[in-house]
C-alpha cells in the first residue's frame, strides 16, 4: 500500500457520512421536500414544463401510430382510373378464357388455334370466329354438325362439336370466346355474358346441333358476303 491515504479517499476511516446518517438525512429530506426558500424553485418548474411537453408528444405519437389498436395493419387503398379498371377486367377475362380453352378446346383445336388439317377447323383467322359473337356462342352451346367451309377448306366430315353433353356456364362461354376472338392475331370484339345468356334462352327449345348453313344464314351479314 504505497499510495497516499489522503488521496485514496476510500479507506474505512475516512467515511464522512455514516449509513445511519444517510438514512436519517434522506428520510428527513423526503419529509420536508426542500429547504425553505425566498423565491420559487426553478427545477420543479422546468421539470413540469419538460414533462408536460413530453406527455403532449407522447399522445400525438400514440394517436398517429397505433393504427387504432387494430389487429391487422391498415389495408392500402388503391384508387384505379376507369381505364385501369377496364384493363384489369379484360385481363382477368382473357386469363380465365385461356385456362378454359386449354382445358376444353385445345385437345382438338390445338393450343395454337390452328386445328388439324382436314379434321378440326382452325380458330386463328377463322371467319366463323370473327363473325357475330352469336355464331361462336351458338356453336359452343349446342354444337355443330355437318360439313363447313373454313378459310376455304372443308371440315366436319368426320367429327362434330357436341357441346350439349358438357355443362358450361354463360360466363365461361363469354370468357373463352372472348379469348379465342382475340388470340393468335384475331381481333374481334369482346363477348358479353348477357349476350350468351340471351342466345342460350333463344335456342333452348332446340334438340339437335346446329348445321353450318343455318348459322351462315342467321348471321349472313357478319360473314361478309
Amino acid at each position: 500500500m504505497s499510495d497516499d491515504p489522503k488521496h485514496s479517499g476510500n479507506l474505512p476511516i475516512e467515511t464522512e457520512f455514516s449509513d445511519e446518517e444517510i438514512v436519517k438525512s434522506h428520510v428527513e429530506l423526503a419529509k420536508t421536500k426542500h429547504e425553505p426558500t425566498a423565491n420559487f424553485l426553478l427545477a420543479p418548474l422546468v421539470f413540469v414544463f419538460v414533462f408536460g411537453c413530453l406527455i403532449f408528444v407522447c399522445s400525438i405519437q400514440l394517436a398517429h401510430s397505433t393504427n387504432s389498436f387494430q389487429l391487422h395493419p391498415p389495408v392500402e387503398i388503391v384508387e384505379l382510373t376507369p381505364e385501369e379498371k377496364e384493363a384489369l377486367r379484360m385481363d382477368r377475362k382473357i386469363t380465365s378464357g385461356e385456362k378454359i380453352f386449354a382445358a376444353r378446346c385445345a385437345s382438338c383445336h390445338q393450343a395454337n388455334g390452328l386445328g388439324i388439317e382436314g379434321q378440326f377447323p382452325p380458330l386463328a383467322g377463322s371467319e366463323w370466329v370473327s363473325a357475330d359473337p352469336g355464331v361462336i356462342a351458338n356453336v359452343i352451346i349446342k354444337g355443330l354438325k355437318g360439313e363447313i367451309l373454313v378459310k376455304g377448306k372443308k371440315y366436319g366430315t368426320s367429327a362434330a362439336v357436341n357441346m350439349a353433353a358438357v355443362p358450361i356456364s354463360d360466363r365461361e362461354i363469354a370468357n373463352v370466346s372472348t379469348y379465342v376472338r382475340q388470340a393468335w392475331g384475331n381481333s374481334s370484339a369482346e363477348v358479353l355474358e348477357d349476350d350468351v345468356s340471351r342466345i342460350r334462352a333463344e335456342s333452348s327449345g332446340m334438340q339437335d346441333q346446329w348445321v353450318g348453313a343455318e348459322l351462315r344464314k342467321m348471321f349472313a351479314d357478319s360473314f361478309g358476303q
Binding site: 479517499g9 476510500n10 474505512p12 445511519e20 426542500h34
Partner: protein
C-alpha cells in the same frame, strides 16, 4: 481490540456471503469475457475454432449473454445488494450458510445451463436459452437468497426507507416476477402465435431494465452520498423516478419489435413509453450529477466514485440514445443492425458493471479491512474505460453504417455492406480483448484481497470472530 462499531459487526456478518458471491461473480466475468472474445473473433475470422461444434457462433453468443447476465450479474447483484441493504438497515446478515448454499445451487444451475446451451439444448427464448431443466433450480435458489435479504431488510433500525433500498429491493422482487411470467407464458401454458415472440422479447429486455438497472441505480444512490458526505440533490424527485421506471420500463422495451410481425400498436406503445422514459432518466441523472458535480474534485479522487459516475453518465447518455433509436423514423435505419449490440453492451458493460466495480471497490476494504492498491484500481478503471468506449463507439458507428448501407438495395451485400462493417467488428474484437484484460485485473484485485493466502481464509475469519 476495542469495542467494534456496529458497522464493523455488520461487515463481519456479511463477509462470508460477500466474498462468496464476489469471487464467483469474478469467475463468471472472466468466463463471459472469454466467450465474448471467441464470439467477436468468429465474426472477423469464420474459421476461428470452427472445428468444434460446441463453439459455433450461435451457441457462444448466447452462452456469453447468459454467463454475463446470470453469472456475473446475478452474483454481483447478490453481493452488492446484501451488503448495502445490511448497512442501510443497520442489521446483521443472518443465515449466511443458507445464502451460500443457495448461491452454490444458483451457480451450479447456470453452469449446467451453459453446458446445456453448448450441447445444443437451447430453449430458444431470449435470455432464457438455458435448458428448462435448470429453471426450477435457479428460481428456488434465487427465492431463498431473496427471502434472507428480506429478513435483513425487515430487521432494519429505521422504519422509513430511502432510494437505494427501493431500487435494490424492487429489483430483487421483480426478477422472480418476470421469470415466472415468462416461464408460465413460454413453457407451462405456452402463449399462441405472435404473443410468444412478444413475451420472449419482453422478458429478455425487461431483465436488463428491471433487474440489472435498478440495482445499479440503487447502488449509485447509496455510494454517491456515502462517499461525498452530502445528501442527494433534489431528492424529492427520486420517488417519482422510481415509480416511473416501475410503470414505464416494462412497456417501453417492446419498441424493439418495431417493424416486426406484430400488431402495430405494440411497437407504437413501446415507442411512446420510451419517450416517456425521459422522465426517470432525467430524474436519476439530475439526482446523481447535481450531487456529484458539487464536489467534482472528490469524485475524481475517489476511485469507487469515479467508476460510479462513469456508470451514471453512461446510463444517461445511452438511455437518451435509446429513446432516439426507438422513434420509428430512426428505427427504420437502425432496427436490424448491430446497433442492438450497442444497446446490450452499453447497459451491461458501460453502466451496470462500472457501478458494480465502484460498489465492490467501496465495500471490499470495509469488509475485509484490507485496501486495494490505488494503482491497481486506477489501471482497471482506465483499461475498462478504454475498452467500453472502443466497443460502444464501434457498435454505434458500425451500426449506423450498417443501417444506411443495408437500406440501399442497389448495393451488393457481401462485397459492399459486409465489407464496410468488417473494420468495426475488428475494433470490437480488440475492445473485447482490452475488456477481458481489465476484467482480469479486477478479478485479481478482488481475489488478492479476499484470498491473500487461500489456505488462511477461514482461519483468519475464525480469529477475527473470536477476538
Amino acid at each position: 481490540m476495542s469495542v467494534d462499531s456496529p458497522d464493523k459487526v455488520i461487515d463481519r456478518s456479511a463477509k462470508l456471503v460477500f466474498s462468496f458471491f464476489l469471487s464467483s461473480a469474478g469467475l463468471w466475468l472472466l468466463t463471459a469475457a472469454l466467450l465474448a472474445y471467441v464470439a467477436a473473433a468468429k465474426l472477423t475470422d469464420p474459421f476461428f475454432l470452427s472445428t468444434y461444434e460446441f463453439l459455433t457462433y450461435g451457441k457462444i453468443k448466447v452462452a456469453q449473454a447468459n454467463a454475463f447476465v446470470y453469472g456475473w450479474g446475478g452474483n454481483a447483484i447478490f453481493a452488492v445488494s446484501i451488503w448495502i441493504l445490511a448497512r442501510l438497515s443497520q442489521a446483521e446478515v443472518r443465515g449466511s450458510v443458507f445464502i451460500v448454499f443457495a448461491g452454490v445451487i444458483w451457480n451450479l444451475a447456470i453452469t449446467f445451463g451453459l453446458l446445456g446451451i453448448m450441447d445444443g439444448h437451447m430453449s430458444g427464448h431470449e435470455m432464457l436459452e438455458m435448458p428448462t431443466e435448470v429453471w426450477p433450480a435457479m428460481l428456488i435458489s434465487y427465492l431463498i437468497i431473496t427471502f434472507l435479504v428480506l429478513v435483513i431488510h425487515r430487521s432494519r433500525q429505521v422504519r422509513e426507507t430511502i432510494a437505494p433500498q427501493w431500487f435494490i429491493l424492487a429489483a430483487l422482487l421483480w426478477f422472480p416476477a418476470l421469470f415466472l411470467i415468462a416461464w408460465n407464458g413460454l413453457e407451462i401454458n405456452p402463449a399462441r402465435g405472435t404473443l410468444q415472440t412478444v413475451l420472449s422479447m419482453w422478458y429478455g429486455q425487461s431483465l436488463v431494465w428491471l433487474w440489472l438497472t435498478p440495482v445499479a441505480l440503487g447502488a449509485a444512490y447509496y455510494l454517491i452520498p456515502a462517499i461525498l458526505g452530502r445528501t442527494i440533490d433534489k431528492y424529492y424527485l427520486a420517488i417519482f423516478g422510481f415509480w416511473c421506471i416501475a410503470a414505464l420500463a416494462p412497456w417501453s422495451v417492446v419498441h424493439h419489435l418495431e417493424g416486426g410481425p406484430v400488431p402495430m400498436w405494440i411497437p407504437a406503445i413501446g415507442t411512446v413509453m420510451s419517450i416517456a422514459m425521459v422522465f426517470p432518466i432525467a430524474v436519476a441523472s439530475t439526482n446523481f450529477h447535481a450531487t456529484a458535480f458539487m464536489d467534482i474534485g472528490k469524485v475524481w479522487d475517489s476511485l469507487p466514485l469515479r467508476f460510479v459516475i462513469f456508470g451514471t453518465l453512461s446510463y444517461t447518455v445511452s438511455s437518451y440514445i435509446g429513446v432516439v433509436f426507438s422513434l420509428p423514423a430512426v428505427a427504420k435505419i437502425t432496427q436490424f443492425t448491430i446497433i442492438n449490440e450497442f444497446h446490450f453492451n452499453q447497459r451491461v458493460y458501460g453502466f451496470f458493471s462500472m457501478i458494480i466495480f465502484g460498489a465492490v471497490y467501496f465495500a471490499l476494504p470495509r469488509i475485509t479491512g484490507k485496501e486495494i492498491p490505488k494503482a491497481a484500481k486506477s489501471f482497471h478503471f482506465w483499461t475498462s474505460t478504454l475498452g467500453v468506449l472502443m466497443l460502444l463507439l464501434a457498435y454505434l458507428i458500425g451500426g449506423l453504417t450498417h443501417g444506411v448501407l443495408a437500406g440501399q438495395p442497389s448495393l451488393p451485400w457481401a462485397s459492399s455492406v459486409i465489407q464496410s462493417i468488417q473494420p468495426y467488428f475488428l475494433i470490437t474484437k480488440f475492445a473485447f480483448i482490452i475488456l477481458a484484460f481489465s476484467q482480469f485485473v479486477f478479478v485479481v484485485n478482488v481475489w488478492r484481497v479476499i484470498f491473500p493466502n487461500p489456505f488462511a481464509f477461514f482461519a483468519a475469519d475464525d480469529k477475527e470472530a473470536s477476538a
